[in-house]
């Protein structure tokens, strides 16, 4: 088993945290994981890209070869399209639909979503709305974890356990908000799975 996931978004949207939840859960299941990120200049407001690799054997470094990612997961549509060349033709694009507009020449969001929906395998979730309904936009990346979770060789219960631990210090309300966001994302991507 080998699973390569490209995580994309804008600095400050919690792209790396999204990966940490999946990576930590996978590691606890005894799988090999590698989660990369690039800091510094790209930290705030700029495009960020992280890679998450999960396998039941050795992983040869952080970078995912072109055309071989099983998933591209993005916190917003423009960044979702930026890394298409990494996606395997059989792979799936999972993205939140709400654009993060912080540049003057942001393309027409409708067109972006059309391009995304035209791909062989695309899952578009209304991450912001679901996060708001769950209790706060800060949980938007957990909606994406939920949307992706049905495709992963991980038990959703294990992911929920990890979410409980990770957010325990922030109080019960935050834990519940993130769990609701996770479940909403899971249900929205695959209604039968939740």
């Amino acid at each position: 088993m080998k699973l390569d996931i490209v995580l994309a978004g804008v600095g400050g949207q919690g792209v790396v945290s999204l990966g940490v939840v999946i990576a930590a859960t996978a590691q606890r299941r005894g799988l090999t994981v590698n989660l990369s990120e690039v800091h510094g200049m790209a930290q705030r407001g700029g495009s960020v890209m992280a890679t998450l690799r999960i396998a039941d054997g050795p992983i040869h470094g952080a970078l995912i070869p072109a055309g071989s990612a099983d998933f591209v997961v993005s916190t917003e549509p423009l960044e979702a399209l930026r890394h298409l060349d990494l996606l395997s033709p059989a792979g799936t694009l999972v993205t939140a639909s709400e654009p993060h507009v912080n540049l003057p020449n942001y393309p027409d969001p409708k067109e972006l979503l059309e391009r995304i929906r035209a791909l062989p395998n695309a899952v578009v979730v209304d991450g912001m709305r679901l996060a708001r309904e769950a209790g706060g936009v800060k949980a938007a990346n957990l909606v994406l974890v939920g949307a992706l979770s049905d495709f992963l060789p991980l038990d959703p219960e294990d992911i929920e356990d990890y979410i409980r631990e990770r957010f325990a210090k922030k109080g019960a309300d935050i834990v519940e908000m993130n769990l609701r966001a996770f479940r909403a994302g899971r249900e929205s991507a695959c209604p039968t799975a939740a």
Partner: protein, 563 residues
């Protein structure tokens, strides 16, 4: 702060970044003290040390700059205890003086310098390769290929440092420094007792001593080469079918085993990624420990018609192989353009160098999409300073604004386009003085508070001595912002007394707030000082917006813990 703490488990296997694996390796090696200046991609090593070292009684201090950090580590070594210095690649330029000379003294307590290179320049002004520095100083360099090796090599580096009496370099690159993988850790060893060197002459580099010590270091090279020749970090693998001295008749270099492969550091992963698709397994030498294992390289070369050298960074090993005179076999690598000379390696670049076809893929949309460059955070005080500066410079026919390294370097991009240079830490001040000396007016130097304390104080002394016709604008946001909000070495309130103490005239030193509602006042002060035909300093103060957020969030967490 990294989220790693939440990933740690009771088991002795941790999910660690390469940076963090170095820090954990140092802690487990009986580290007594660690010193650093923040710099991407090395910062997380020290963030981790600060979070974990206290319980073990390890001293971990941020320093004014990499040179002062290195010198403090030298002091620890001289009294027999183990010390770690952490920096980014260009930091070693700053620390080059103590580093090169520390190779000549007789290192006593283990001294390890972990340097994170940034091939691809994700967050740096160049992609210099630290292996050249280690070679220049004639010391051992260990180059981990993965996070486990980052841990193991750091532990071993302390042993090697004491065994050979030299500092040992651990070279990381961004992709390793900033990716997390599982690391098995071993029981820690205790710190070493205080044990001052018994031979002070080996630390006094008077020429008479230095000549002897340099000779000793040169004599030690044979032992260093003996170590790397036998090191498990430099493994060779010959598959059963790979020796084929008569393979010249076979047309395909990959099938006939005529090609040998040498990888270094993380390049091994990119090679292994593609290995399953090669029809046969080329003989392979991996180099993780330098000086180069020349015997192993010669043995490999003697069995191949061609060698492909895959290394992240400059073609360090490749250039040694090529030398000047023709080589008996073909050498492929960066200098032959089988791989690019600049930028980061990738599995795809290595794939092409191995002669494998491109994988089918979706069309790259990257080129048709607008770029999203990094930008100053909403509410960043630097924005107000740039607005004020633009206002103050309005009307001058020709002005120059030299700047420095930090978030404010983003002021070079639209919509500000407020700065005109960024070279190295502290350069803005010396460059401003040079431009003023050459006759330009007005001249402004823009520098952040932490960069000023790192390398700006000494060039300011030059400007004070000459009463140079320039204005120094210090953007004081109270933190090292770019690297994630580390503490500056002196607090904001200490800046003005420092500058006045150096000798700047009090009537030409102003402290003002960088605030959207106070842009006019800041601009007026700047304009007034631009018109003063001598040295002036304006400090624009307001806390980094991100630092303020982190501070209130930490306070909230503390209150919750207390209740």
């Amino acid at each position: 702060m990294s989220p790693t703490a939440t990933l740690t488990e009771a088991r002795t296997s941790l999910l660690l970044m390469g940076d963090e694996a170095v820090a954990q390796g140092a802690i487990d090696a009986g580290l007594s003290a660690a010193y650093a200046y923040p710099g991407t991609p090395s910062t997380e090593a020290f963030d981790y040390l600060l979070a974990h070292a206290g319980a073990d009684g390890i001293v971990a201090s941020w320093c004014a700059n990499e040179k002062t950090a290195y010198e403090q580590a030298l002091g620890v070594s001289m009294v027999g205890r183990r010390a770690l210095v952490v920096m980014k690649h260009v930091g070693l330029n700053v620390a080059a003086d103590p580093f090169i000379n520390s190779a000549i003294v007789s290192i006593h307590g283990g001294l390890v310098v972990a340097v994170a290179d940034d091939p691809g320049m994700h967050s740096s002004q160049n992609e210099q390769d630290t292996r050249f520095y280690a070679d220049f100083a004639r010391v051992i360099c260990l180059e981990p290929a993965d996070q486990q090796e980052a841990y193991d090599m750091t532990r071993e580096a302390f042993e090697l440092s004491e065994r050979f009496g030299i500092p040992v370099v651990v070279r990381l690159v961004t992709r390793l420094a900033h990716s997390r993988a599982s690391v098995d850790i071993r029981p820690p060893r205790p710190q070493k007792p205080l044990d001052k060197t018994a031979d002070p002459n080996s630390w006094i580099l008077l020429p008479a001593n230095a000549r002897k010590l340099w000779r000793q270091l040169l004599d030690t090279q044979v032992e260093l080469e003996g170590y790397t020749e036998n090191s498990a970090y430099n493994p060779v693998s010959y598959s059963p079918s790979s020796h084929s001295p008569n393979s010249r008749n076979n047309p395909s270099p990959l099938e006939n085993n005529a090609l040998g492969v040498i990888t270094t550091g993380i390049a091994r992963g990119y090679y292994r990624e593609n290995l399953p698709e090669l029809e046969s397994r080329p003989p392979h030498l991996h180099v993780g420990a330098y000086p180069l294992p020349v015997g192993k390289i010669r043995a490999l070369a003697s069995r191949c018609d061609a060698l492909l050298v895959i290394e992240e960074g400059y073609p360090f090993l490749e250039r040694r192989l090529r030398g000047i005179l023709p080589t008996p076999i073909e050498i492929r690598g960066k200098e032959s353009l089988h791989l690019p000379l600049d930028g980061e390696l990738s599995p795809d670049l290595v794939r092409a160098a191995l002669g494998l076809p491109t994988r089918p893929r979706l069309e790259a949309a990257r080129e048709s999409l607008p770029a999203r460059p990094p930008q100053l955070c909403r509410g960043c005080p630097h924005m107000d300073s740039f607005d004020a500066l633009r206002q103050a410079l309005n009307g001058y026919e020709c002005s120059i604004v030299s700047a420095d390294i930090g978030c404010y370097t983003l002021g070079a991009l639209p919509p500000y386009q407020a700065i005109e240079s960024c070279v190295c830490m502290g350069a803005s001040i010396g460059m401003a003085k040079g431009a003023a000396d050459a006759g330009l007016h007005p001249v402004v130097s823009v520098i952040g508070d932490s960069t000023f304390l790192h390398s700006g104080v000494t060039p300011l002394m030059d400007a004070i001595a000459a009463d140079t016709d320039m204005t120094l604008l210090i953007l004081d946001n109270g933190t090292v912002g770019m690297t994630g909000g580390q503490e500056t070495i002196l607090r904001s309130s200490q800046l003005e007394p420092l500058i006045l103490g150096l000798g700047v005239a009090p009537e030409h030193c102003h402290v003002l707030e960088a605030h959207p509602r106070k842009v006019d006042a800041l601009a007026a002060a700047l304009r007034q000082e631009l018109e003063h035909r001598g040295l002036s300093v304006v400090i624009a103060v307001r806390e980094c917006i991100e630092h303020a957020r982190m501070r209130t969030s930490a306070a909230r967490k503390e209150r919750r813990a207390a209740s």
